[in-house]
Amino acid sequence: MSENLKNIEKLQDALTRIDSSENVIYFLCYDTKGNARAAVKHIYDMALILKESGQNAKILVEDNKYGGVDTWLDEKYNVLPVVSIKDDKIEIKIDDVLVVPEHYSNVLEQLSNVRCVKVMLVQQKEYMFETLSVGARWSDFGFDKAITTTESTKDYIMEYFPESLVHIIPPIIEDFFVETDKPSKPYIAISSRDRVKHRKLISEFYLKYPQLRWVTFRDMVQMSNTEFADSLKECFVGVWMDDESTFGTFPLECMKSGVPVIGKIPTTEPDWLSENGMWTYDENKLVELLGTFCLAWLEGAELEAEVKDKMKDTLLPYQKDITKNNVLNVFNSFVSKRKESIVTALEKLTTKEEETV
């Protein structure tokens, strides 16, 4: 069989796989070692949405040592097959889609010869260049599409990789984050990427407000997602410190739980930032803001209806259905564009073959 005929056959197979939804959408994912990570949940959410709509979505991991997400994500995610690069010797085909988080920029070069649809996933813009060779562009390795979570990150990506086609898919703020009608408890939910800052804030708070030493800080780590939601809704306030945050899931989860948020505005301002919380650019002001809020809460102060409404409005774009449609549209467009290219290539090869005959 001629090389041309072999290629025609390959392309026809690819078309058949696309038409029967057998082509695979791989999501490269890192091991959180049992810790809950919003970024990994977003990956699993996108994969699950595709899987549930009949697409062949798979989680791609480095090796069989991958710890999985069973300890902190719902069992509904168990339907997602997990395949390993090293142990399963997977063969990525031209009709497949490969989504690579910015975390894995160091493997882009190794993936340059893979001819599938290649998509960068940027959830932490600060990590974009961390492992990418200096001066390298994603498109050098065939990554001409990107998914990110915010408008501002899209703008940032377009500034440095203007050749990229960037889609925005914000994470889902789950419906298990619900307001409780029970009275709040004197617990402060604290979410800080930097453990040193986390400890510093608590120490400063207890020193500055010794009369509030009985108020408990709840460290919102090492919990399953539902434990996290149950724990959060009991708190009377949430404190957020995460300078590297790109999206800012925690404040939105607070808002959905009806918990007021006090936060340090990160380096990249979240798209949703408005008068929906108590925000400061100055980290040193956090303790005072928190102390003032605590004392007012103790005296019986409640959030104004206007702020509550703003909190609710903020959440509107992050509903499950909106994200679901968004994910399906974006990935359908990736696949249909690939199908178009395959059809075009197939036509060319067929014409060439006919001419040869």
């Binding site: 009275p183 408890k185 009985w214 408990t216 103790l298 019986g300």
Partner: protein
């Protein structure tokens, strides 16, 4: 329907007390839909008391007694007259926080197995400046067996809880006995020890519900510290603490001296 009776003991009426009474009652007026006020006072001040205009919005009941006007027995006299599911104790120089009824309604609705709710008490000096909180420690992590709830074991080690401003289920307190008027200084402590010993659930409400003036001149506790006629020495204070720890096993008061002898 009014579901709470506030017992307010009054033992004398002079210009200062009149002002304090008016102020204390004014903090209850906002609760007139949910609360009735029961003023317990000795018969000898009936006339003076009747001359004080306390408004007509609030349902006020006067209960006069002939015995000496001891705070504990005034509460007990009041307790016998309470016909609502819940009652509270208001001291004449104290105030409820505006949110008190709202708080108590929220908590009684949610914690249906609890019989006593103790709000955080904001202690102030006579100028009204904040000095400390009381009852807040119930919510300190790891302090009590169950966060938010008072237990007997903790109470045996740590005495500083305020019973005024609390909300009490009337039947439970009647069944467990009122305040013991023969226990000086630590009658509130003995009362809480007794309740926790008998398995009554006491929950701290983690919001300020009551404002208490610490050591107001002429208050009972000020007099225990400063009035030569009833002043307590350090040893006597210890004695009353120990007495409370011995007496909480008994529903009714016993002869204290007899026990010591």
């Amino acid at each position: 329907m009014k579901n709470i009776t506030v017992i307010l003991p009054v033992h004398k009426v002079d210009d200062d007390y009149k002002l304090m009474l008016e102020n204390a009652v004014s903090t209850v007026k906002d609760f007139h839909n949910d609360v009735k006020l029961l003023i317990v006072a000795p018969s000898k001040i009936k006339k003076q008391l009747s001359e004080i205009e306390l408004g007509n919005k609030l349902e006020i009941i006067y209960e006069y007694h002939n015995s000496d006007s001891n705070f504990c027995n005034q509460i007990n006299v009041g307790l016998q007259k309470v016909d609502t599911e819940w009652f509270s104790i208001l001291e004449i120089d104290d105030e409820y926080q505006k949110t008190w009824v709202k708080l108590m309604t929220e908590y009684t609705k949610e914690y249906t197995d609890v019989d006593v709710f103790l709000p955080i008490v904001k202690d102030v000096d006579k100028e009204g400046n904040f000095t400390s909180f009381t009852n807040e420690s119930l919510w300190a992590y790891g302090f009590t067996d169950k966060q938010g709830y008072l237990d007997n074991e903790v109470l045996l080690e740590y005495q500083n809880y305020q019973i005024s401003g609390g909300l009490y289920k009337t039947k439970t307190i009647v069944d467990n006995g009122g305040l013991k008027d023969n226990i000086k200084l630590t009658f509130g402590y003995e009362f809480l020890l007794r309740l926790t010993h008998n398995g009554v659930k006491i929950l701290g409400v983690p919001r300020i519900g009551y404002r208490h003036v610490n050591f107001r001149e002429d208050s009972l506790f000020w007099r225990y510290k400063n009035d030569d006629s009833i002043k307590l020495s350090e040893n006597e204070v210890k004695f009353w603490l120990e007495t409370a720890k011995k007496e909480f096993f008994y529903t009714n008061k016993r002869e204290i001296n007899a026990i010591e002898n």
